[in-house]
Amino acid sequence: MADHIVSSYDQELKLLMTKIAEMGGLAEGLVADSVTALTRMDIGLAQKVVLTDARLDRLQHEVEERAILLIARRQPMALDLREIMGALRISNDLERVGDLAKNIAKRVTAMHGNMVAKQLVIGVEHLSEIALEQLKAVLDAFTTRDDAVAMEVRKRDDEIDALYTSLFRELLTYMMEDPRNISSCTHLLFCAKNIERIGDHATNIAETVHFVVTGEQMIEERLKSDGSSMIGSIGAE
C-alpha cells in the first residue's frame, strides 16, 4: 500500500489518516498485549511487545515526513491544516502510548515471574480495561470526526484517576506489611502509573479531535482527581 501513486490532495490526506489508524491499531495492540503479559507473567509476549514498539516509532517518523511534505507542497488552510496538525499531535501521543506499553513489558521481564497478590494484578488489569476503552473510543472519534464522543472520553478520565489512586494506596499497604513485597510492588506501581498515563494520552487525543472538528483549542484546565500525590502519611494513620 505504501508505493501507490497519489494523484490528489484528498488521497494524500487519506493516506496520512490511514497511517494514523495503523498506529492506533498498533498502540491498542501493544497496550493489550503488555497487560496480558503482566497478568500471565508471559515473558515471550513481553519481548514481542518490546520488539513491536520499534514499528510504531518508524510509523511516527513516516507520519511526520508525510505531514511536512503535505504542508510544504499544498499549503493547506483552515480545516485541512488542522487535520494535518491533528495527525501530527496524535501520532506523538500514540508513539508515547507505545513507549509506555513497552515499559510495562520490560517490567514483566524484570519481575521475572515473581507474582504479587493476584488481587493487585486484577486491579491493574481493570485499570487497563478502562484505558483501552478510552483509547478505542477516541480513535474511533478521530476517524469519524465525532466531537461528542471525544468530549465524553475527556470526562471519563476521572474514573482512571480514581482507580489509580485506590491501587496506589493498596500497593503502599502491601509494601508496608512485608518488605519482601517492595520490589515487585514497585514494578506493579509503575505499570499502573504507565496505564494512567496512557489514559492521559487518550485525553490529549480527545482534545486534538475537538480542535480538528471545531477549530477551538481546549483551554480550561481539566480537574485532576488523581489523589495519589496526597497520600503520603498513610503509615501515620
Partner: protein, 444 residues
C-alpha cells in the same frame, strides 16, 4: 475448520471466476456457466441491487473499478461478514452482516478506519504485495473479548499475462467470529485457576476438622457437634463459590451476544422485590419501592437482569441493615438519554471512597471480615458488572463512610436500542404493561 476454509476459498474463487466472465463477457462463456448463475444475475440486477448502486459515493479520483452487482450478490449471500477493498485498502463494498457486526464502514474510507487490528492491516498489505490469499487472526478486548479470523483473497478482473507484478483489482475480506470456540477453551482454564485458588482455603479447613474427628476428638460428643457445624458452614461456602463461579463463566460465554428479548423493567423490579421480602423481614429492613407506572421496555435477558437486581438489593439488605431501610426506584432517567434509571439506596455504614472504583473486581472485598460473615463470595458485583456489560448498561456507585450507598443502573430503553443500526429488533413480541399506582411504599 477445514470445511469452513474450503467454503470460503470456493466463494472467493466463485467471485473471481464470475467477475472475470462478467467483465470479459464473451457470449459462449455465459452458456457454460449454467442455470445457477443466471439466477444469481437475476437477483443481482433486481431493483434493490440497482438502488444500492446509485447510493454509493463518488470515486475520489482516477479510474476506480467498482465491484459489480453480481459480486455484491455473492458477498451478500455469504454467511459471514464480508468487505471488499481495492488495492489501496479503501473499502468498496460491505455486506449487511459486516454492517451489523462492526457498525457502519463507510465506502471510500480505508478499511483500518474501522478495523484497526494490526494483523488484519498487515495481511491486507501482503495480499496486495504478494498477490496471494492470507488469513489473519486477532483479539478485540473492548467492549467484550472477541476473537476474529479474517480470510483475505485477491481478485483480478482482467489478468494481464505480460505484467511482471499484478495488482489485484479487489481484495475480498471474509471475517469469521471465533469467539465462542476460543472462549470455551479459555473458560475451562480460567475456571480451574479461580476455583482451585479460592476453594483451597475452605477445603483445607474441612480436611483439618475431619482429621481431628478421626483422631483426638473421636469420642468427644461436644467437640463433634461444634466441628460438624463449622464443616457445614465451610461446605456451604464452597457450594456458593462454585455456583457463583459457574454463573460468572456462563455469563462470560454469552458476553459478546446482545440479548434480544423485550423486558419491562418495572414489572421485573416488582418480581425481584417480592422475592426478597422474606430476607428483608429477617434482617428487619424496610423495602421502600418507587417504580414508575408507565411501561419501561428494554432489551434484556430477563433471568440475568433478575440476578443483577437481586444481587444489588440483597447486598443493600445485608450490608445496610443497620440503616433499617432500603429505597428502590425505577424511572425514566431524569438526565435524559432515552434510558431507564434504577437506583438502590441503603442507609448502612457506607463504603470508603478508595474502594469504590474497585468493587466490581472479582474477589475484591472492601471489608473481608464482614463479607465472610454475610456469606459473600466476592463475586456478586463482578457478576453484576458482567451482565450489565452484556446489556450495554452502566453501573454507578456513590457512597461515603457513614452515609449509606447508592447503586444506580442505567438501561437503554427498547426504542433507543431499536434505533441503533447494529441491532435487529425481533418482531412479534409485545410489551406487557403493569397496572400499579405510581408510588407504593411497602412496609415490611
Amino acid at each position: 475448520m477445514g470445511r469452513a476454509i474450503d467454503l470460503r476459498t470456493l466463494a472467493a474463487m466463485l467471485v473471481g471466476v464470475f467477475g472475470f466472465f462478467a467483465v470479459i463477457s464473451p457470449v459462449p462463456a455465459w452458456a457454460l456457466i449454467g442455470g445457477g448463475l443466471v439466477i444469481l444475475i437475476g437477483s443481482a440486477l433486481s431493483p434493490r441491487a440497482l438502488r444500492a448502486d446509485r447510493r454509493r459515493s463518488q470515486p475520489m479520483s482516477g479510474p476506480v473499478v467498482w465491484p459489480n452487482p453480481s459480486m455484491k450478490a455473492v458477498a451478500e449471500a455469504l454467511p459471514d461478514p464480508c468487505i471488499m477493498t481495492d488495492a489501496q485498502g479503501i473499502v468498496r463494498f460491505v455486506n449487511d452482516l459486516a454492517i451489523q457486526r462492526f457498525g457502519l464502514v463507510s465506502r471510500g474510507d480505508p478499511l483500518n478506519f474501522k478495523l484497526r487490528a494490526t494483523a488484519l492491516n498487515d495481511a491486507l498489505e501482503r495480499v496486495v504485495a504478494l498477490d496471494r490469499a492470507e488469513t489473519a487472526e486477532w483479539l478485540e478486548k473492548i467492549p467484550t473479548e472477541r476473537w476474529f479470523e479474517a480470510h483475505l483473497a485477491p481478485i483480478h478482473f482482467q489478468p494481464d499475462p505480460h505484467a511482471t507484478l499484478r495488482r489485484p483489482d479487489f481484495v475480498i475480506v471474509v471475517i469469521e467470529d471465533l469467539t465462542e470456540r476460543r472462549r470455551s477453551e479459555r473458560m475451562r482454564a480460567d475456571f480451574v485457576a479461580n476455583a482451585s485458588h479460592e476453594l483451597r482455603t475452605p477445603l483445607a479447613s474441612l480436611t483439618g476438622f475431619i482429621e481431628t474427628l478421626q483422631g483426638p476428638a473421636r469420642n468427644d460428643a461436644v467437640a463433634r457437634e461444634k466441628f460438624l457445624g463449622i464443616m457445614m458452614q465451610q461446605a456451604s461456602r464452597m457450594k456458593r463459590l462454585i455456583d457463583d463461579l459457574l454463573s460468572l463463566s456462563r455469563i462470560e460465554m454469552k458476553a459478546h451476544m446482545r440479548p434480544d428479548a423485550i423486558v419491562d423493567v418495572g414489572e421485573l423490579m416488582w418480581d425481584v422485590i417480592d422475592s426478597l421480602q422474606p430476607l428483608a423481614n429477617e434482617n428487619a429492613v424496610e423495602l421502600c419501592a418507587e417504580i414508575a407506572e408507565k411501561p419501561m421496555p428494554t432489551m434484556a435477558d430477563r433471568d440475568e437482569l433478575v440476578q443483577v437486581f437481586s444481587n444489588l438489593i440483597e447486598n443493600a439488605i445485608k450490608y445496610g441493615a443497620s440503616g433499617g431501610k432500603v429505597d428502590i426506584s425505577a424511572e425514566a432517567d431524569p438526565q435524559g438519554g432515552d434510558q431507564w434509571l434504577v437506583s438502590i439506596r441503603d442507609y448502612g455504614p457506607g463504603i470508603a471512597e478508595e474502594h469504590l472504583p474497585r468493587l466490581t473486581e472479582r474477589f475484591y472485598r472492601a471489608d473481608i471480615v464482614s463479607s465472610r460473615e454475610k456469606q459473600g463470595t466476592g463475586l456478586g458485583l463482578a457478576i453484576v458488572k458482567h451482565i450489565l456489560t452484556r446489556h450495554h448498561a452502566r453501573l454507578q456507585i456513590e457512597s461515603s463512610l457513614g452515609a449509606g450507598a447508592t447503586f444506580s443502573v442505567r438501561l437503554e430503553s427498547q426504542s433507543a436500542i431499536a434505533h441503533s443500526p447494529q441491532i435487529n429488533t425481533p418482531n412479534g413480541e409485545q410489551t406487557r404493561t403493569h397496572q400499579s399506582p405510581a408510588k407504593i411504599i411497602r412496609a415490611r
